[in-house]
């Protein structure tokens, strides 16, 4: 098969991207199931209880994003380092290990009662299960750590033996951080407060810390390739963005230490620093738009440029604006653990991490398949999917925000009404969310279809 990659080993990214998209479909399917359970309480009960659907939804999200990050690294690290990947064989072996482990975990959730799964996998020996996002059996957690380690070795050796660009250094720093912080998923003390405190070292320090480095590095790579802007300019932006991310995001962890038993001094500290967290996201938006406006070439892959700019905008809205909305302690006191949180979680994850993975896939897939960009027709279909998914996600967020505001009003103000009674009054918002979710699913189907649209290939114009 023909391909346009500069280094043959970049092609290992392809199975990673395909698996990512496959698992993405599964994630959204279970999102829709939960959307229906929100309005028909007994839907699929007791076959698929809500908690099971939720584990499948969130774990598939995390796993497919990791597939996306790994694929992105395998694709861009050799090109940046100007040499072949240290070991394409290892990359392919890890791909299969990770995929099998991931699929087994999901099947385990679906077909074995969770308590039985815990027993079967020896949770007693090292109990780590049953915490939000970290539901995987301990043995699977160890597997994830091993895969990450092998991956870092492969990427690290490639970078060490090649050209050390800023993109590669920042990406590697982010990926090392990802692996190191994962180790805290093994720390599960008997004291719930300590458990919660360090749980955030995985969850917060991932999405508002090291993952931002990965995001920024992928964004920089794509912008270099599609705009032809000088590296010196890009590198400077990159450093400033990741500096702002870590300077605000590390102490910003404090915005989760308001009401879980940790001391009150976290309220001002977490508030002030997390209030600065939107800055790196805003800079990312400026970065994307500025580079595209000052571009030195017109890359034929218009869809990629659209994804990149979309990432800038929706990451800023979801993480920056929706994050800021509830990040100060006096506000969070009322919104903590409501649909407001769900609204923010959705748009932030989609805008930042889903979209950056779709950006690099959009850029790299055509090249791996032997053309600089897809045909105009295929790109048009892909751009349709961009708008369908992005607009429906904006609506999901708006409806959940509406639900959240009403929930806070009815449940948390004054005496308050009981939770279940309040939920009944939010039905209309949940219906609208589920309808938007269905449109999201249609957008995703259109996205997958765009890979199969034929048409005359677009050739480079510069």
């Amino acid at each position: 098969m023909t391909t346009l990659v500069k280094y043959q080993s970049q092609l290992v990214a392809k199975p990673y991207f395909i698996a990512a998209i496959g698992l993405f479909i599964g994630q959204i399917l279970f999102g829709l199931i939960m959307g229906l359970q929100y309005v028909w309480g007994d839907f699929l009960f007791p076959e698929i209880p809500f908690n099971v659907a939720r584990m499948v939804h969130t774990n598939l999200l995390i796993v497919w994003l990791l597939f996306g990050f790994f694929g992105a690294a395998y694709y861009l690290v050799p090109e940046e380092a100007e040499r072949e990947l240290h070991s394409p064989k290892l990359a392919l072996a890890l791909f299969w290990i990770f995929l099998v482990a991931g699929v087994l975990t999901i099947l385990g959730y679906l077909f074995v009662p969770y308590a039985t799964l815990a027993e079967m996998t020896g949770n007693d020996l090292l109990p780590t299960m049953g915490r939000e996002f970290l539901e995987q059996p301990t043995i699977i957690k160890i597997g994830i750590a091993a895969v990450a380690l092998g991956f870092l070795y492969n990427i690290g050796m490639t970078i060490l033996g090649g050209r050390k660009t800023v993109v590669n250094i920042i990406l590697l720093t982010g990926l090392i951080g990802l692996a190191v912080l994962w180790l805290f998923s093994f720390y599960n003390p008997e004291n719930l407060v300590l458990d919660k405190m360090f749980w955030w070292w995985v969850v917060h320090l991932w999405v508002e810390g090291v993952w931002e480095l990965i995001l920024a590095a992928i964004m920089a790579f794509v912008l270099i390739k599609t705009t032809g802007i000088d590296r010196e300019v890009i590198d400077k932006w990159l450093y400033v963005i990741v500096a702002a991310a870590l300077i605000s995001g590390i102490l910003g962890t404090g915005h989760h230490y308001y009401f879980i038993g940790t001391p009150e001094y976290w309220q001002p500290i977490g508030g002030i620093f997390s209030a600065m967290e939107p800055i790196p996201f805003f800079m990312m938006t400026l970065f994307a738009f500025n580079m595209v406006n000052r571009r030195r070439r017109d890359h034929p892959n218009k869809a990629t440029v659209l994804w990149a700019m979309g990432t800038g905008v929706l990451a800023f809205l979801g993480a920056g604006v929706w994050g800021f909305m509830h990040t100060l302690a006096p506000v969070n006191y009322y919104t903590h653990g409501t649909q407001i949180t769900a609204a923010h979680g959705h748009m932030a994850f989609y805008g930042a991490y889903v979209m950056i993975v779709l950006t690099i896939i959009s850029y790299a897939m055509p090249i791996m398949r032997g053309r600089e960009a897809n045909s105009k027709k295929a790109q048009a279909v892909e751009m349709w999917s961009f708008w369908l998914m992005s607009v429906s996600m904006v609506f999901i967020t708006l409806f959940l925000t509406g639900a959240g505001i009403l929930q806070v009003w009815l449940q948390r103000m004054g005496e308050g009404l009981p939770f279940m009674q309040v939920q009944d009054q939010l039905q209309i918002f949940y219906w609208l969310r589920t309808i938007s979710g269905t449109i999201f699913m249609i957008g995703l189907i259109v996205y997958v279809w765009s890979f199969f649209v034929k048409g005359d290939d677009v050739v480079a114009t510069d």
Binding site: M34, Q37, Y38, G41, D42, F45, P46, P49, F50, N51, V52, R54, M55, Y114, A115, A118, P127, M129, G130, E132, E135, N188, E190, N191, L192, V193, K196, M197, E232, D235, K236, Y239, V240, V242, A243, L246, I247, I250, G254, H256, Y257, Y258, F259, I260, G261, P263, E264, W266, H336, G337, A342, Q411, R412, M413, G416, L417, P418, F419, M420, V422
Partner: protein, 144 residues
């Protein structure tokens, strides 16, 4: 960005700033861990509470409920359920025990977990202990 602001300045801010704030964060975390005993009343973590936390985890209660505001938003907050149920462990046990196997038609349902008496006691003790954590006065009212 301006010419005077060089790439190496940007790099130094990144590395210097990150290392500095990592150290501050570690110091504050250390201080927090020192102060926690008076807030979490760990002297009350009995064997039964420990068992309760394990049962909590191994049945994935967090997949529907929030606990101190974290978790899922499908079912009531349980950090203060002990108080909401009139400071009654028995009421908590009775509720968990009485969930119909096939759910309640048309209503969001909680599974029947078939917990043993010992596990039920552990769960109730765990939820009681949790309700006594100093959470800076959260939640705003009894509804959670």
């Amino acid at each position: 960005m301006s010419e005077k602001f060089t790439k190496s300045m940007a790099r130094n801010i990144f590395f210097g700033g990150s290392v500095f704030f990592i150290l501050v964060f570690l110091a504050l975390s250390f201080d927090t861990v020192q102060r926690l005993p008076e807030r979490d009343h760990r002297e009350n973590i009995t064997e039964s509470v420990v068992l309760g936390k394990k049962v909590w985890e191994e049945n994935n209660c967090i997949g529907c409920h929030t606990l101190l505001g974290e978790g899922a938003y499908f079912a009531p907050e349980l950090g203060n359920v002990y108080i909401r149920f009139g400071n009654s462990k028995e009421a908590i046990k009775a509720f968990i025990k009485s969930r119909p196997k096939n759910g309640i038609p048309g209503r969001r349902s909680m599974p029947q977990f078939n917990l043993t008496e010992e596990e039920l006691d552990g769960m109730a003790d765990f939820l009681k202990w949790t309700s006594e954590i100093n959470t800076a006065n959260w939640p705003p009212n009894i509804q959670g």
